[in-house]
């Protein structure tokens, strides 16, 4: 008998296979979730391929996790068995540094505990993510999922959602603001939805005409074709904020031109080495920023915002055994806009 309660990626050429996990005992403050759906983030693939040189195999990816509470520890008071719950990119942090005490666990000064492939004292010595039947974590890192949200489309909110919501809120996206979203993938399509729901004039900036049309359906008020220099330049100096979700290195120059005086471009897609022309920043007091997911409190706020505004991610559903096909399609940006694994397919 093969006991298969998780899917583990071992190495690029033999990416995933059934994997037996001895789960941690449910502690007093722990919540166990029976996972229903798990989103597939580009980070999963980076870990599977060890692109960042930090993967420890076996890795069980997945940090866009939704399901139902199946057990709670004695001291848990926020969750009851049977309720919908979710886990994002973090399952713990120091709790005492100035970032944590301000609700910014994502910037924990000791480093937050990642949902997968992070050293832990739990069985296996590593955290194991959402490509799995079940997950146990401290209740303070568990999110409550509003009942009215479609659960499949909720999974990607836990990473793609909060990664775009947090910077839009931080830089005050709202009425009378002109906000550009660069790139229309898992992150970008959530950026369009959130920016629109926050009341900003939302502009999709893309190299693809068809993506421009798609973005309009998602809520973009306007589209700029980034490859049409003449047309693009007419929009120079008009943007308060640009959310750049492109996942690979690229030239930032045209986007800086689009910013107003005192405008900000925030990069969320690519922690790469960029060439930045400081002159473009100097002549306009512009800023380049970065932003990482969001804190737990803000993630809950985002889920509640989604509930009120009827927002979920656009997803394509997968069976567990289709994961390698999904990875191949992701590399070609061939997904609208996020793959989500039906964890009932893991047997």
């Amino acid at each position: 008998m093969t006991f298969t309660n998780a899917y583990a990626a071992h190495q690029p050429k033999d990416q995933v296979k059934p994997f037996k996990i001895e789960r941690r005992t449910i502690g007093k403050e722990d919540v166990q979730i029976d996972i229903e759906y798990c989103g597939v983030c580009h980070t999963d693939l980076h870990f599977v391929n060890n692109d960042w040189g930090m993967t420890q195999y076996p890795v069980v990816p997945g940090h866009e996790i939704v399901g139902k509470v199946s057990a709670v520890g004695d001291s848990v008071n926020k969750f009851k068995v049977g309720e919908l719950a979710a886990i994002g990119c973090m399952v713990n942090s120091c709790g005492v540094c100035s970032s944590c005490t301000q609700g910014m666990e994502q910037y924990c000064q000791s480093g937050f505990v990642g949902t997968y492939n992070h050293p832990t004292e739990d069985p296996g010595g590593l955290t194991f993510g959402g490509y799995s039947k079940r997950i146990v974590a401290d209740e303070s890192f568990i999110l409550s999922v509003p009942e009215n949200l479609d659960l499949k489309g909720t999974a990607p909110l836990l990473c793609a959602g909060i990664t775009t919501y947090s910077p839009l809120k931080r830089w005050n996206a709202g009425p009378k603001m002109k906000v550009g979203i660069v790139g229309l993938g898992g992150l970008g399509h959530m950026g369009v939805k959130f920016s629109n729901a926050l009341g900003a004039h939302t502009v999709m900036i893309t190299s693809s005409e068809s993506k421009g049309e798609d973005a309009k359906k998602l809520g973009a008020d306007e589209v700029i074709l980034s490859t049409d220099t003449v047309s693009r330049n007419k929009h120079n100096g008009q943007f308060d904020f640009i959310l750049n979700t492109i996942p690979v290195k690229h030239s930032l120059d045209p986007y800086f031109d689009l910013l107003k005086i005192d405008g900000t471009m925030c990069v969320v897609g690519a922690p790469e080495l960029f060439n930045v022309n400081a002159g473009q920043l100097v002549f306009g007091r512009k800023t380049l920023a970065g932003s990482l997911i969001g804190g737990i409190k803000e993630t809950q706020e985002m889920l509640d915002f989604c509930s009120v505004n009827d927002i979920v991610s656009e997803v394509e559903m997968l069976q567990m055994e289709e994961i390698n096909i999904a990875y191949e399609r992701m590399v070609k940006s061939d997904v609208k806009y996020r793959f989500v694994i039906d964890m009932n397919s893991l047997n």
Copy 2:
């Protein structure tokens, strides 16, 4: 007879020589200043050498100009003959764009009119700067110099001063803030003085121990030796704001590490192409910014702040004929901290 009312740089190998200027007629709203002192900015040398490929010869450099009002147009009401007055980097702007109407003429959307080497309808077809006996400009671009300030040390305030004052104010340098100043030259030494006067905990970040000692005399509370990695890293994550005045391309990485979550580094010294590791911005929601001089209203505010806080620039005085020696020393950073030309030496 040689009429020599200005010093013009023609080309690098024959940099400066006497030059006759037919001055513009004093219009209704014009003020004429008899120049007493003119600071020497690195930009002057860039223009003289045509480093930026935009110099139109003959160029009369100089945009740190102080002197006495010697004539005023009929409609001028802010200035009287005999009063102390100053001109910085700008002598005009469109006056109607959103930047100008918000008092940010330095970001005029039509481009401000530079004090020198800028096309104009005045005689000569170019603006001519402060290496000169006299200058005429619209009163709205003339600053009033408080009587208690040492006039020689006031000249550099018009560029080096406002260039550092403006970003320190923009990013709220003040009590309970930890502010780093990188580089101790014409800009950096003003940054130290202003940050200290604004009440921020001011830290000089320098590669030179002796500059560290000098910075303490100028008002720095603390010094970090940037070359001592072990010691420097102890300060990581502590800075609210870093003002980077280094005038050449360099690695920004160590300075990003020094910033707190949500911290900002502002580059004012080098409009160069930098390599920016976006990961450093993402993991800490940090920002890289630029800033250019300051608006006219803010420049006057800065001069008044200097009057109240008894701040002027530290200067070395020059005769006009020593300008090439000064340029050579500037290239070697051999000046504490700004050369100022005594314009009485131009005959």
